[in-house]
Symmetry: C2
Subunit: 492 residues, 2 copies
């Protein structure tokens, strides 16, 4: 079908790029670092959005919308946050173009339309949102404030990669305000759980919940929680973060409330987000050398039906059966595509729908009509089986559930296989170079050791797992005491 | 309840601003011209989005996402479009901030991080999208291309007004590509019909479909179609536009295709959009001096239940009944709020939910428990009636349908009353000054006459209605011949 992609073994990076482009998920635009999300890719993102949005609402959150621009003086109010993002901000300085007098038909920035104060295109919205919360919060009755926003943000990345790292990306950012530290920490943990549940249930991607080390924290947070996933090349990918902000933003924007006793207190905050980066994670967690493998819960098309025919009469008869099956499946809420194009051969269609990751393919030929059968192929295992036409529609839901489960189990087994416990620094380096994956090792808790290991091995501490067992050990690097193992990996 | 709003009679503009703020729909942000859409306002916008998105998909369109930024050279490629938006563009010129050496803790734009080419924050996306379509379209088999995008756009407006005119706003923009002019015009008309159906069916807002005069066309379009609605102050509001772009953007970006005969041809295009401006239209079309009046199909809460109680025992008994009613209504797909706050009196709650436009209020007191009744109040007519508790849940769906229909009929009757046919320029001026509304009058079709009337009366030609009767007449201004009447009005 002329849409070959590089194999993973040959060049994993190129495989990823080929797959993203040839499965029509996204492409680079003519704007530096910005991508175009193509309809098929966007429809997967929409499925993610719908599932997450429902989970957010079910946990009491409401959506709202805040400005794209942040005035510089507001942006710099929380110093650590500002410092963390200052080097990668798009800055609006003018508000008008005019005709270029030296270049007919061309435009130039109008120097007379310079802004008094520059505007930062939001890299994240804590500043603009907390400056608004100051107006919304007076009393303990106004708390908690549980708000989410679906938006685009811009971070001027130097090296970009479709979905994984782009200058503009789409995301959701939750921003909540609470009366107590306890409540805010509970919220931070609750949203981490929501992300983990989403990743595992919808994306079929097992994740490890943990806390970031100080060096990897969100700028302006007291604590950053994360979910970490394992890609097929043995590199880790951070799939979502949830931050306990303490009172940092409340202090920066003077957001206080009157408590039940009538006294003024600073508000406590959280923020949490996942982005179109999840698309990259989804692709790299499950797909193979033939293309995308989609978990049914996020597949825009669940079942494709491909007719095998030599003439119009055969196509007509097959179409009748395909219609019956489609109708029944659609009534159960599944998306079905009947690929009756006469311009392409079945083999081409098989390859195309495999590339696009449709979980189940049904092929119907003239002999199937005689036998009242269909051929059913699973995308995940490539297994084919002959099934009865009469019962196929009632078999599909169970089959899709099994595919969803199998994809998850496969990723889980892969991660287990790629998780290694080591006792020495030499072992860590050996595992990273020869096997990859997560490495569980003792660490003395200092930024110096973390930085040294990163410098020497390119591996970072992905997280301190929430379920890490308390055990006495000694740091693989410094030999100093350690109370628990942390997770090292090279990462995206 | 301390949330009084100015009456429409006293000051219509202030009434609108008060209502938007006090019903928690939106507020001005600290960013010039940009608004914050608050959760309640956003939940109405979400209902609009859902309904429109389904209508777009049902008519064969897919969603995608294109970059926020447009490089200046790309922006200026279609000259008329560029000229039309150049004066109101936010321009990104730098990509980094740095510490200000003269001002500790403050940041400044890093002069060494100046972009080689400035980026325009999209005021509309024709340029970036057609530059992408060039890569996507080679053959007639790639057409039609039917794509929609939900996005934020920025137009640097000098005078802003919540929802109606803001520097940043949210919208959807459809961009389609076709093999023939005929198909593109059909698409333009089809999407105008979709907008009209949405406005009338969901927003309960009657609209007039028409074409814009040359002077009011979208920059870069051959023809602009629009839907025009009438607000309660007698001013018109353009609620949506659909543009036939001809081959203007195809030519600007050299988008050609090989036709069935193997010859190269330029592609034909359309674009169409509605924005958060619809929120302003919705508010101004129906609301009254007590607050918002929402058509049930766009109401985030359909029914609010307010208990009338003196003590805990009464509240408990009322709650049991409220739960039964709520459960039954929710199972039918309606959103129900049981307002059991003990901190506020029923009168306060009544006023608050009226302000927020909840279509139906159910009050339950101790006597109702004895009588097995409830008191039902309609937001639109303010009528109250006593109904039986047992049948209330089965009565509500019909009641909501009648409310939806009544709101529409009321707006339709208002528009009819505010539509006047005139034969002379003196009459036009008199009607505009004394009565307002739409004025049907003959016009000679020239830009000069249109400009003169606008200059002298502040009224513009809203549209040439698609259903305008062909009749010979003479222009009210110039006396020259005219073939049909057009619609004049002062407008938002």
């Amino acid at each position: 079908m002329g849409k070959q992609i590089t194999s993973r073994g040959e060049d994993y990076s190129q495989w990823y790029i080929d797959l993203v482009k040839k499965a029509d998920l996204a492409e680079n635009s003519d704007v530096r670092g910005c991508m175009v999300i193509k309809p098929y890719g966007y429809s997967i993102w929409e499925k993610m959005q719908q599932a997450l949005d429902k989970m957010f609402k079910d946990t009491g959150h409401e959506n709202a919308y805040f400005p794209l621009f942040v005035p510089k003086s507001m942006f710099e109010a929380e110093e650590k946050n500002a410092e963390g993002f200052a080097k990668e901000c798009a800055i609006v300085t003018h508000y008008r173009l005019k005709n270029d007098p030296n270049n007919k038909g061309k435009l130039m920035v109008d120097p007379t339309a310079k802004l008094e104060e520059e505007l930062v295109v939001r890299p994240t919205s804590e500043a603009i949102i907390w400056s608004t919360y100051k107006k919304w919060i007076q009393s303990y009755r106004d708390l908690p404030l549980l708000i989410n926003q679906w938006a685009n943000v811009v971070r001027w990345e130097m090296r970009t990669r479709l979905f994984l790292r782009t200058a503009e990306f789409l995301w959701q950012e939750g921003h909540t305000a609470h009366a107590t530290a306890f409540e805010a920490i509970k919220e931070t943990e609750k949203m981490l759980d929501v992300y983990a549940e989403f990743a595992e249930t919808f994306m079929a991607m097992p994740v490890i919940k943990g806390k970031k080390s100080e060096g990897e924290r969100f700028p302006g947070a007291i604590d950053t929680y994360c979910i970490e996933s394992m890609m097929q090349d043995g590199k880790a990918l951070q799939a979502g973060t949830s931050h306990f902000l303490g009172q940092n933003f409340a202090k920066a924007f003077d957001v206080q409330f009157t408590n039940k006793e009538g006294k003024m207190e600073m508000v406590w905050g959280t923020s949490w987000g996942v982005s179109t980066r999840l698309m990259g994670a989804l692709i790299m967690a499950h797909s193979d050398d033939d293309g995308l493998v989609l978990p049914p819960k996020l597949a825009p098309i669940h079942v494709v039906i491909v007719p095998i025919f030599k003439n119009e009469v055969e196509l007509m008869k097959i179409s009748e059966q395909a219609d019956i099956i489609s109708k029944e499946l659609r009534s159960k809420g599944y998306a079905v595509k009947f690929d009756n194009r006469e311009t392409h051969k079945p083999g081409f269609k098989f390859a195309e729908w495999e590339l696009k990751g449709v979980p189940v393919r049904i092929a119907i030929g003239p002999r199937d009509l005689d036998n009242k059968t269909v051929e059913v192929a699973r995308r995940d295992t490539k297994e084919k089986q002959v099934m009865m036409m009469e019962t196929i529609a009632s078999e599909i839901p169970g089959l899709l559930d099994r595919i969803q489960e199998n994809i998850y189990q496969k990723a889980l087994a892969f991660r287990s296989e790629k998780t290694t416990r080591v006792e020495t620094y030499a072992e860590l380096k050996k595992v990273l170079d020869e096997k990859g994956g997560f490495v569980e090792a003792h660490w003395d808790g200092t930024a110096e050791t973390e930085a040294a290991i990163k410098e020497e091995t390119k591996a970072t501490i992905r997280c301190i797992p929430l379920d890490a067992v308390e055990e006495t050990g000694s740091c693989i690097y410094s030999g100093k005491p350690s109370a628990r193992r942390v997770l090292f990996a090279r990462a995206y």
